[in-house]
């Protein structure tokens, strides 16, 4: 049956190519994880993935309030770009560049309410890595960590520490760039114990707004933290005295505000209205 399955797969291929490859119908042997081996498809891709990357290691009991982002200074590199998303969508992603402007390292930090969430985020991030990673047992990297080069983390570390998931990726290595594991250590030392506190954000719009002229958005952010705005069904202008929501047309509108605390806790708040 297996041979028949192989025969069916070869239909439509150039015959000469098929013959030259000497396709074998013998099943591949299972091999230890992490080595050059082929494992037969024993189940879905997700099952294979979970088998390769178990996420159920014991977690640290010390809850974390977040990561002091202003302490993340990488030697020889400067912060060149940043994008903020809700923690379960990846959190804060920092790009660090050298003096020529080339991006050399990425650091991604997601502060979640609890360990389970952090582990889920870790699982999501692992799905985007084509090189099989090894479990890293260096506690400095986290209570659960996967890294390249047999777990040493030369270029890539993905890990959790309690309720924080983080990733360090060396985009372009060199003697002037620390290893991913070193940078991960910096991230770890910047972690602050405590309960995560997400910024308090209040947004309000009138229940209905004029589709042509729009309406002012009222936003209050505790602590005066900076925020970014985006909308569905509208765009946001600066306005004379504050953000002004400008609908595209009559219909529902939702405005989102993303606010990040100094410890990397991200709040995405929203409010809706109807443009008429």
């Amino acid at each position: 049956m297996h041979a028949k399955h192989v025969f069916v797969k070869w239909v439509g291929l150039p015959m000469a190519l098929a013959l030259s490859l000497g396709v074998s119908a013998a099943p591949a042997l299972a091999a230890p994880y992490g080595q050059d081996a082929v494992s037969p498809m024993t189940g879905s891709l997700d099952q294979e993935f979970r088998a390769a990357y178990p996420l159920d290691a014991p977690s640290s009991s010390l809850r974390l309030a977040g990561v002091a982002l202003d302490r993340l200074r990488l030697p020889g590199l400067q912060l060149s770009s940043r994008s903020d998303d809700a923690g379960d969508e990846g959190g804060v992603l920092l790009s660090f560049s050298d003096r020529s402007g080339a991006v050399r390292a990425l650091v991604q930090i997601a502060v979640l309410p609890d360990v389970l969430w952090a582990r889920r985020v870790l699982g999501t991030e692992l799905r985007g890595v084509a090189l099989p990673l090894s479990r890293a047992f260096d506690p400095l990297l986290g209570d659960l960590a996967y890294a390249d080069e047999g777990g040493r983390g030369t270029s890539l570390v993905l890990a959790t520490q309690a309720n924080i998931a983080y990733r360090v990726q060396i985009v372009e290595s060199g003697s002037d760039v620390p290893s991913a594991a070193s940078i991960a250590g910096l991230v770890r030392t910047a972690m602050i114990a405590g309960s995560p506190t997400y910024p308090q954000v209040t947004l309000s719009l009138p229940a209905t707004i004029d589709a042509k002229s729009g309406a002012a958005l009222r936003i209050q952010v505790a602590g005066g933290l900076p925020y970014t705005l985006r909308a569905e069904g509208a765009y946001v202008a600066r306005g004379q005295s504050g953000p002004l929501v400008r609908p595209f047309a009559a219909g529902p509108i939702t405005v989102f505000a993303t606010v990040t605390s100094e410890l990397g806790c991200v709040t995405v708040a929203s409010t809706s209205s109807l443009a008429r």
């Binding site: 192989v6 797969k9 070869w10 439509g12 291929l13 150039p14 000469a16 190519l17 098929a18 030259s20 490859l21 396709v23 074998s24 119908a25 591949a28 050059d36 082929v38 494992s39 037969p40 498809m41 879905s44 891709l45 997700d46 294979e48 390769a52 060149s80 770009s81 994008s83 992603l93 790009s95 080339a102 991006v103 990425l106 999501t124 799905r127 985007g128 890595v129 084509a130 090189l131 990673l133 390249d148 080069e149 270029s155 890539l156 990726q169 060396i170 985009v171 372009e172 970014t228 705005l229 985006r230 909308a231 765009y235 946001v236 202008a237 306005g239 002004l244 400008r246 595209f248 047309a249």
Partner: protein
């Protein structure tokens, strides 16, 4: 010589009768009979009316020197006739509007007669004196250049002539008048509409005012191009009287539409791009201006004047049509004869138009100096496979790049995808993450863990996370670029943990492992497909295209629409043994 005071109106020849005779040949408007007068003696004293047939005027006999034996004239019977090449003129025209004044005296006097010709309002108020001097019987040509004057009123005015008698010969003066319509002709806005063929395709700016995530789908109702008209000012002219011009080039920013000081989108005053299905012959909808500059403010364009001959708008290259007749503030639709985008490409098309008036003989004549022009930017695409709601609409930044990359070399989906594979693989300056094959711009979620992909397209366009990518990123780039120009592309995931044949990774110089470690294997791989893996496109790598992809020498083969099986055969030595296999086959990438 004292002038004979004007006492009463004389008969005047109806305007159109004069024009019929003067303009029986369309060429006459360019070479009016008056030109024949120019070929004669330049002296006004001797200009004759040989251009006009005998029945054109009352009377039309040229004056002849009196026979010495005839008794001197005892009565003056002056007659003045006005003839114009056209009864209307564009207010800003620098072309000469010829006014022919025919002076005769049935009493036979050949002495100079006092003649005054004026441009007046309908109520007789003088606007400008065109001639005020004595003239012997004959023809006088006056060239009036509206564009050389300032503060002319629009609408129906009059050319009036008063002809008196020589002091030595008593008689009654003669008058004549004919209407002259002064018009300010122009378009204030152009909308490109669907027309014939596939029509318009949506476009979106992804960062209004350079603010990330501030999306703006370009509404179809937004003018494609328009004049910049500050509130309260005349539409067609600046306060100094100079004409407003359409933008000299299309809006070039690919990220944001033009915005004002408060970050609100400026809806007029620029030319925004339009995406059309290839082969579309779009409709151009022109909005006719309502106001022109006047002393101290605005005035109407004159198009509302009673008895004004019909006027139409004509686009260069498109035959004129009565359906394109204009009215003040109205709209005129003209369909282009040919598609500006016959293939997948970006085209900056120069569009010119002018105005014409309907002559009594049923033919149209160009109104001098009524031209306007604009450069419109068109993207020729196959459609939209990205989605229907923001931000999953075609982005201007992506469509602009993709159509320029294809540049007319493809006109179907397969061709477009093939070009884009090469573009991503060879032209974008990207390289594979040889350290760990980790994604920089793509994130998976959803069913089974890889069911949905989110592509940080805005960050990728800025390369804010660098130029080192993995297969997920290449798959996102390729599928998004293809979908946004209408070449359907979905992603597929291959797994799990399988060996590789030597490949040539994006940015690599030689076949082999994609990794610095030398490892010949992927835990998973992402590719794109238009048809659930029957065919595969892959911009992450090239495979060995010869009969033995496992061993050297290697022949570089870009993965452009390889069959699903051939691709896996060339990718992996273990294809057919259970892995690799397509695990996800038809997944959508969401752009943000």
């Amino acid at each position: 010589m004292p002038r004979t005071p004007v006492r009463s109106l004389a008969r005047s020849i109806p305007l159109f009768a004069s024009l019929l005779i003067a303009c029986s040949d369309p060429q006459d408007l360019k070479d009016p009979p008056l030109d024949r007068a120019d070929e004669r003696d330049d002296s006004m004293d001797t200009r004759l009316d040989a251009a006009l047939p005998a029945d054109a005027a009352e009377p039309a006999d040229a004056a002849t020197p009196p026979d010495q034996s005839d008794p001197p004239p005892r009565v003056c019977q002056p007659q003045v006739t006005l003839t114009m090449a056209a009864p209307l003129a564009e207010l800003r025209s620098k072309s000469k509007l010829a006014i022919e004044v025919l002076v005769t005296d049935r009493g036979g006097s050949t002495d100079p007669h006092p003649l005054r010709v004026e441009l007046t309002k309908k109520d007789g108020t003088r606007i400008k004196t065109l001639h005020d001097a004595d003239l012997k019987p004959g023809t006088l040509r006056i060239d009036f250049v509206p564009g050389s004057e300032t503060d002319l009123p629009t609408g129906e005015q009059q050319i009036r002539a008063w002809l008196g008698c020589p002091a030595s010969v008593p008689g009654m003066p003669s008058e004549a008048q004919t209407p002259l319509y002064l018009l300010r002709l122009g378009v204030t806005q152009i909308h490109v509409q669907d027309g014939e063929g596939g029509g318009r395709v949506p476009l979106l700016y992804h960062a209004v005012d350079k603010r990330s995530g501030n999306y703006f789908p370009i509404p179809k109702t937004l003018p494609t191009s328009s004049l910049n008209i500050p509130s309260g000012e005349p539409e067609l002219d600046k306060p100094d009287g100079s004409p407003r011009l359409f933008p000299d080039k299309p809006w070039s920013d690919l990220v944001t539409p033009p915005v004002d000081g408060s970050g609100a989108v400026r809806e007029t005053g620029e030319t925004l791009p339009v995406s059309l299905r290839i082969g579309t012959k779009p409709d151009l909808v022109f909005t006719i201006g309502k106001t022109a500059q006047a002393m101290g403010g605005s005035q109407p364009t004159g198009l509302l004047a009673m008895s004004l001959p019909p006027i139409r708008l004509v686009v260069t290259g498109v035959p004129g049509s009565d359906a394109a007749r204009v009215k003040e503030g109205g709209q005129v639709t003209v369909r282009l004869l040919a598609s500006p985008v016959p293939r997948i490409q970006r085209v900056d098309a120069d569009v010119k138009w002018h105005f014409e008036w309907l002559r009594p003989d049923g033919s149209y004549a160009v109104i001098a100096d009524s031209e306007q022009a604009v450069t419109l930017r068109f993207y020729g695409v196959l459609g939209n496979e990205q989605g229907t709601t923001s931000p999953n609409l075609p982005w201007v930044a992506v469509v602009d790049e993709a159509t320029q990359a294809i540049a007319g070399t493809a006109s179907d989906a397969a061709g477009a995808r093939a070009v884009l594979v090469q573009y991503v693989y060879e032209k974008m300056g990207l390289s594979y993450d040889r350290r760990s094959g980790a994604s920089a711009y793509t994130r998976y979620s959803g069913t089974g863990g890889w069911g949905t992909s989110t592509f940080s397209l805005a960050e990728f366009l800025k390369r804010s996370r660098g130029r080192v990518v993995n297969c997920s990123d290449c798959g996102s780039i390729l599928s998004t670029y293809a979908n946004m120009i209408g070449a359907k592309s979905r992603y597929a995931i291959i797994g799990w943990n399988f060996k590789l044949n030597p490949i040539l990774g994006i940015g690599a110089m030689m076949f082999g492992s994609p990794f610095e470690s030398g490892r010949l294997g992927f835990s998973y791989h992402a590719v794109t497909t238009p048809d659930a893996t029957s065919h595969i496109d892959d911009a992450t790598l090239a495979v060995d295209g010869d009969m033995d992809p496992k061993t050297a020498p290697h022949t570089k083969l870009l993965v452009q629409s390889l069959t699903g099986d051939e691709y896996l055969t060339r990718l992996s030595p273990t294809f057919g043994s259970g892995t690799p296999a397509y695990q996800y086959k038809d997944q959508i990438t969401n752009a943000r």
